[in-house]
Symmetry: C3
């Protein structure tokens, strides 16, 4: 069975990637074309011409007003995917229509619904408001991963790897040494993993961006919305500086690290990453530093996870992993995603009215 | 079932490609060695030494007189494929013999028969006499295509794509807009598709080569001999200039565009292309321009068809295409080729004499 | 069935390749990590962390004293493969243990046993003492081969190919023309192939290294220990110069050419080669010349065998080869290796005591 969870919203792109040029991306194995109408709204449809399956994202395919023209024989589609012109004849076949996809723009992302369109209204889109909110400054990017999405989920749910894989950037000994607490909200389908370090080394990522000298309080509060959106609420402050009782926290520095995890295929993933901060809002130097540092960290993960994917591809099925306490959050995420995949694979039942006939 | 039509002659090479060096090319999945005897005649045989299957086209294999010597252990074969020397012993095993292939040189091409050799005499080789005929000047080339041959057949049978894929070279709006007529000669196994434009833009390909200024009469008369030889009889002339009633046509410019479509494997194709003209015969500038222009057009097709092959490779079987009027010729070609493939796959029946024993 | 012979010792590396850095190599399809303890002894274990299968040979995995630390989450193993530390908790799971491999260093090689460790003591390691012996100077290297090991065995057992593939280096006409004698010692599992040329051209490999001018006596005495170690005892001397009756041979130049043939996977091979000589022991110029010449010859084989592997990959199973007298040694080697592969694939039988219960 496929490991990809269907009947879910996924991040397909940053809003800035979609414009007045045809833009193709494979999401959960489906080849999808994205573009904006002249009024600025984004649209998504199958990236395969109904005639001979030429990719509409491939040159010389192009936009003309609110239509896209196939670069092979000129079949022309409107923003809903309806074919409005074909070559050599005036009659357009009635069945000439591209599959169109539900699209929502939110929190700087273009979200697309993969599954039965009927269900799109019933599935909530998780939020990452900081990415597009006053009071925060965000740097972001996307790295292609030649590895299955579950390897990235494993990676992010267990931050003890920061100490080893990302030493010198975001890892210090305390991350691996400090135990975690894990909570699962089965109703909301959210996994929480927290690690609060009261007295920890300050890694360069935070030292250079916040200006703190000396040791720190470092909180890592993970909130994962399987299968697709990972939030790391990160708080650092000088040792001993805690939030006020009323929840205000003038002495803390807050970083919201967001990963949108979107399967491209069964064995490759779009790894969207964003880092939003509530300090040094106008400081380009801090933005450049955080962008470069986080990208370096993501690429360290990419190298490691691509290597793991090659390992798994060469393994017989059913090999045994060994899991320990640090894996509690990752195992919870796997369990929820397996249930989601099973539910998403179910057929839409016929409606009672249909059955009554 | 394989889509490759067997028991057919195919273009394996231009005559100029085959000489006194070993030359290997895969035709319809068969690895074949081509070379010329000292008397200049071409020969074709299996490209795999009978001993350990070393490719005879691979260095240091080489010709010695009218023999080819394997570069691994020195097994030596004559022009009929018979082994005439082996290392370390004087006796040559009686069964040491390479499969030899029927070869015919015609119209500048080296044709090879793929199938049961017994049938080669019964299968006609289609003609493209202009390529090697006084009164015509020809430019030609071959581009490797990482796509199945049928995609190239589809492409060439429906020239409405010129308007979109080859705009600025050979396409103008009239090509896509003008309806076609299609005829199929079932006995001769030929598909004809004609598009006669009485008043059309003159694309650069013809404007620069003929010198015509202004609009043109443009006739495109396709004559396809499935599975392997495609002829486009192209006539352009100033608007209003038609052939005389006796068939002479002093006011027209004639270009014979020839494609030999040879499967390399199930999913790759040798795309031989040639452009013969009956004007500006000695003009090197026109030759250079037509060679460069046609090669550019062929490479535009290569990019598009290679993309389509990747699309098809990723599709589930049995996806639905939508066909319209422009596809009539291509669909007829597909039908004939499917019948040819089925017939070519049949076993040669035992002869009645054999059965009587 | 796999063609790889299990329950055998194989050369995994030169001793000089294994040190105080983690070093991974795939041997017979198994991913193995090699390193040296602080006391200098070599050790070998599975190259996959028990936690999430990260390769321990991949950066930032590294050694700390006599332990190896996984670069992903810091799982730490001692030289026997026992896990001694994990992140976030003090208790180490009892089952956290890497498979460890028997290792022997001998004749400049690191040998590893592939199979049931219990049997390692019962399987002898063949010797190539010259590579690490006073009175000899050795040059050596390893080239990766994208071809199955049996193609290299075929190649080395039939040196008639020197005349064709290695002409100008080690091949002369006499090699292909001189018949061989073949002997098989079934008990010791050794194949001997000899070719004694009394009056032969001296190829550059020997002319430049020995200084002999004019024609030579050239003996090639192959001693192959299937599946893994190939020895070519080579003697050259001026024409007419033979060993003394007591076996001493002051007029002869002796070269011991050694190949260790180690399957990496079913379709790729580590091709270790070494050339030991008993003359010009201190002459760096001769060492450089022989190293460069033999590497060139090995790379000629690599090109040819990689081509053959591609040929075989494209062939239907069960094609017919044609074998002649020169193939006697190679066929004997194949037969022994097939028997070894069948024996190696057998399960270790349960002990009689176990059966009695």
């Amino acid at each position: 069975m496929t490991s990809i969870v269907r009947n879910q919203w996924y991040v397909a792109a940053y809003g800035r990637e979609v414009g007045r040029e045809v833009f193709g991306r494979t999401i959960c194995g489906e080849s999808i074309l994205f573009w904006r109408r002249e009024d600025g709204s984004a649209t998504a449809m199958s990236d395969r011409c109904v005639h001979r399956r030429f990719p509409l994202s491939e040159k010389p395919s192009h936009l003309v007003g609110d239509t896209v023209v196939c670069g092979y024989h000129g079949f022309t589609y409107d923003a809903d995917g309806t074919c409005v012109a074909v070559p050599g004849q005036t009659r357009v076949p009635r069945t000439a229509r591209l599959k169109s996809y539900p699209v929502v723009e939110q929190d700087s992302f273009v979200w697309v619904f993969i599954g039965d369109d009927d269900r799109s209204d019933t599935v909530p889109i998780p939020r990452a408001p900081w990415l597009d909110q006053e009071g925060y400054t965000t740097v972001s990017g996307m790295e292609p991963l030649a590895a299955r999405a579950s390897l990235l989920v494993d990676n992010l749910m267990d931050l003890s790897h920061e100490t080893y894989l990302h030493g010198g950037y975001i890892g210090t000994p305390e991350v691996a040494n400090t135990p975690i607490t894990t909570e699962v909200d089965e109703d909301a389908q959210v996994v929480y993993v927290s690690r609060h370090m009261d007295d920890a080394d300050c890694p360069p990522f935070y030292a250079k961006s916040t200006g703190i000298e000396g040791r720190i309080v470092r909180w890592q509060d993970i909130e994962f919305h399987p299968p697709c959106l990972y939030l790391l609420h990160s708080r650092v402050a000088p040792v001993g500086t805690l939030p006020n009782e009323d929840g205000t926290d003038p002495g803390g520095f807050h970083v919201e690290v967001v990963y949108a995890i979107t399967p491209e295929t069964e064995h490759s993933t779009h790894d969207f990453w964003a880092v939003a901060r509530d300090f040094a809002l106008e400081d380009e130097g801090v933005s450049d530093f955080l962008r470069e540092s986080n990208r370096t960290v993501v690429l360290q993960d990419v190298v490691a996870l691509d290597a793991l994917e090659r390992v798994l591809a060469g393994e017989p099925d059913g090999y045994q992993e060994l899991s320990i306490n640090i894996d509690t959050g990752g195992l919870a995420a796997r369990r929820i995603m397996a249930a989601q995949a099973a539910a998403g694979a179910e057929q839409v039942p016929e409606s009672p009215a249909a059955l009554a006939r």
